[in-house]
């Protein structure tokens, strides 16, 4: 152990003796580690963004859409009259394993407040919708079932709408117009950010379904809806719940065996999961590709250490002649390789973090710089140093003292 300190000193001297070479060797590691750090930061950033989006979506969700898909994947039946009704939604809500079921009708409409205009997505639904999506009202209040029953003209608006239509004013209590009809804003929703498709979820207005159908969309058959959003009780019960919803709807729609569904279901949570899986895979792939440059850096270290061992053969002979054990020589060269590797790693880490932050600053891409990534980088540096330094160091340690001393 008393050896370690003087050996660090010597390794330092050896690195200093050929600065340009040490620096170039290090550069390989700097680039390798820098690349890994940047790729991990971007990959983890993407994962974080997806995770963030998923957490704003609400859990265990699936939607039932009116219409059906033919075998060729073309949607049909939507023109042939409404197939989903509020009654369907109420029946679904009664099923075991269903927490909430919200009939929904939506469309793009123009909002007007004073001199301000804003085009946004209007969602007509029931209070269950906000519950299923775990969406809170941060200012004011949401509407209740009684609002749906009596078709009151109240609206809950998203943050983007609040900003664009009302500016600095407090929207709660103000009256805006949707399709000429006046609506009183009773609440502002908590911000959710983008959804998986990149659409701003806060750019929306939510009003009672009945009001939407009567005043905004003008549906021909009252009680028909485009979509029902269903929340299942548990993630592992999703498939079972979807199956029972399917058989319930077939029964309610009097579809005989062999007839295709006149509705279509989509598991939002599963889609989100697969999206998360995709980013995870991408992140691993990025890291793996970047690791190749680390490998190249390691080979650079090995190459230089081999040159160094050959150049310093005589020195090794002298050290052995005055009592260095094989192990001492091994430690010395290994330490040198690890030091180059570590120094390169440290610089690479700084460079990588710097570039990742710059990417974030200039492109707005989410980057996540985690302590575990830094730790990983250092573990890799130690490993690369030891792995690629081992062979040259062992070569040095196994030199025959007398042959080494004779070396010119």
């Amino acid at each position: 152990m008393t050896l370690i300190r003087p050996m660090f000193h010597e390794a330092w001297l050896a690195m200093g003796a050929n600065r340009l070479r040490s620096a170039l060797t290090m550069l390989g590691m700097v680039i390798g580690v820098g690349a890994v750090v940047i790729m991990l930061a971007i990959g983890q950033g993407a994962q974080y963004a997806v995770q963030q989006t998923i957490s704003t979506m609400g859990s265990n969700l699936f939607i039932v859409l009116a219409g059906s898909f033919t075998a060729s994947g073309v949607r049909s039946g939507s023109g042939g009259g409404p197939t989903l009704t509020v009654g369907d939604s109420d029946a679904i809500a009664e099923l075991d394993g269903v927490v909430a079921s919200a009939p929904t009708h939506m469309g793009s409409r123009q909002l007007v407040y004073g001199a301000q205009n804003w085009s946004t997505q209007v969602i007509g639904t029931t209070p269950d919708y906000l519950e299923a999506r775990a969406w809170n009202v941060v200012n004011g209040a949401g509407f209740g079932d009684s609002d749906v029953r009596s078709a009151t003209r109240v609206a809950v608006i998203g943050k983007t709408v609040a900003e664009n239509l009302f500016g600095d004013e407090d929207p709660v209590g103000k009256t805006m117009r949707i399709q000429q009809s006046p609506f009183i804003v009773i609440g502002v929703l908590a911000p959710k950010g983008q959804n998986l498709d990149g659409r701003d979820q806060d750019d929306t207005v939510i009003i009672p379904l009945s009001t939407a159908q009567r005043k905004v969309f003008g549906t021909p058959f009252l009680g028909s809806v485009r979509m029902i959003m269903v929340q299942a009780a548990a993630a592992d019960g999703m498939d079972r719940t979807m199956a029972s919803v399917s058989s319930l709807l077939r029964q309610r729609h009097r579809l005989r065996d062999g007839m295709p569904d006149d509705f279509f279901m989509r598991n939002l949570s599963a889609a989100a999961e697969s999206e998360a899986e995709t980013t995870r895979t991408m992140s691993i792939l990025l890291g793996a590709i970047a690791s190749i440059s680390l490998l190249v850096g390691g080979i650079g270290i090995m190459n230089i250490m081999l040159v160094s061992v050959t150049e310093r053969t005589r020195e090794i002979g002298i050290r052995m002649a005055i009592g260095a054990r094989q192990q001492d020589i091994l430690t010395q060269f290994l330490l040198e390789a690890v030091m180059i590797s570590f120094a390169g790693c440290l610089l690479g880490l700084i460079l990588g973090v710097g570039i990742a932050l710059a990417i974030n600053a200039f492109t707005g891409m989410v980057v996540v710089i985690s302590g575990s990534a830094a730790l990983l980088a250092f573990a890799v540096a130690a490993f690369v140093g030891i792995f690629f330094g081992w062979y040259p160091a062992r070569k040095a340690a196994r030199l025959d003292p007398i042959e080494a001393l004779r070396y010119q």
Binding site: T2, A17, I318, A321, I322, G323, R325, D328
Partner: protein
């Protein structure tokens, strides 16, 4: 009776060369008692260096036995040999063999590093030895800043730093002028007077005169072995 520092029995060394086996050392018997001062002489190629390298545990013999301070060297592993090179003997080379990037003090202290001695002790001992060879004021200099004779003094200081009982020197004055050689020989004389056993190789008879005993090699054999008074 004093303990023999070196006991060599039928020691031989052959090299495998392209032209077949070449025997550099045939069958050498030699005993060196503690406190002796021996000069090895002989023409070029007679096997002197080969023999010294065997004594210094730097090379392994092809046959015969070598006991260093009573210990049978043939049975030792690499670490034990390193330990002998580190503590039991000190080797002085013709070409000084200082490490160019290290200060003189660090050069002298290097064997102590491998002996596991702590930093303050290393520093103190290296200082003492540099003073002893008259180079205390150059402690922080690099080897290329001092003359050959001074470098050889530093090399001797390094050989002495672990208090060995034996100094082996292969043509220590081979690269030095006669005046500087005298200085180095005076230093060896002092060391021997202090009880250290010395075996050195030289080509020059007047250098060999400094030793108490002279051994002559020819074609890988000892052909003459007598005390200096008798030679004179």
């Amino acid at each position: 009776m004093t303990q023999a520092v070196i006991r060599v029995l039928g020691l031989g060394k052959s090299y495998v060369t392209a032209a077949g086996d070449f025997t550099a050392l045939h069958s050498v018997d030699l005993t060196v008692e503690s406190g002796e001062y021996i000069a090895i002489m002989g023409p070029s190629g007679s096997g002197k260096s080969t023999f010294m390298n065997l004594l210094g545990c730097l090379d392994t013999p092809t046959r015969g036995d070598y006991f260093l301070a009573g210990e049978r060297v043939a049975g030792l592993d690499g670490d034990a040999l390193a330990r002998l090179r580190n503590r039991t003997l000190g080797f002085v080379f013709q070409g000084f063999n200082l490490l160019p990037r290290m200060s003189l003090q660090d050069n002298v202290a290097l064997p102590l590093v491998y002996a596991g001695v702590d930093q303050p002790t290393r520093r103190a001992k290296a200082r003492v030895l540099l003073e002893r060879v008259g180079l205390g004021r150059y402690a922080e200099s690099l080897p290329n800043r001092i003359s050959g004779g001074q470098q050889q003094r530093v090399a001797i200081a390094r050989a002495l730093v672990n208090d060995p009982s034996l100094i082996l020197a292969d043509e220590p004055t081979g690269n030095l002028d006669s005046h500087t050689s005298e200085d180095i020989m005076a230093l060896f004389g002092e060391l021997n007077a202090a009880g250290i056993t010395i075996v050195l190789v030289t080509h020059e008879p007047d250098i060999a005169e400094h030793a108490k005993r002279q051994v002559r090699f020819l074609d890988g054999r000892i052909v003459d072995d007598r005390l200096t008074e008798v030679v004179r």
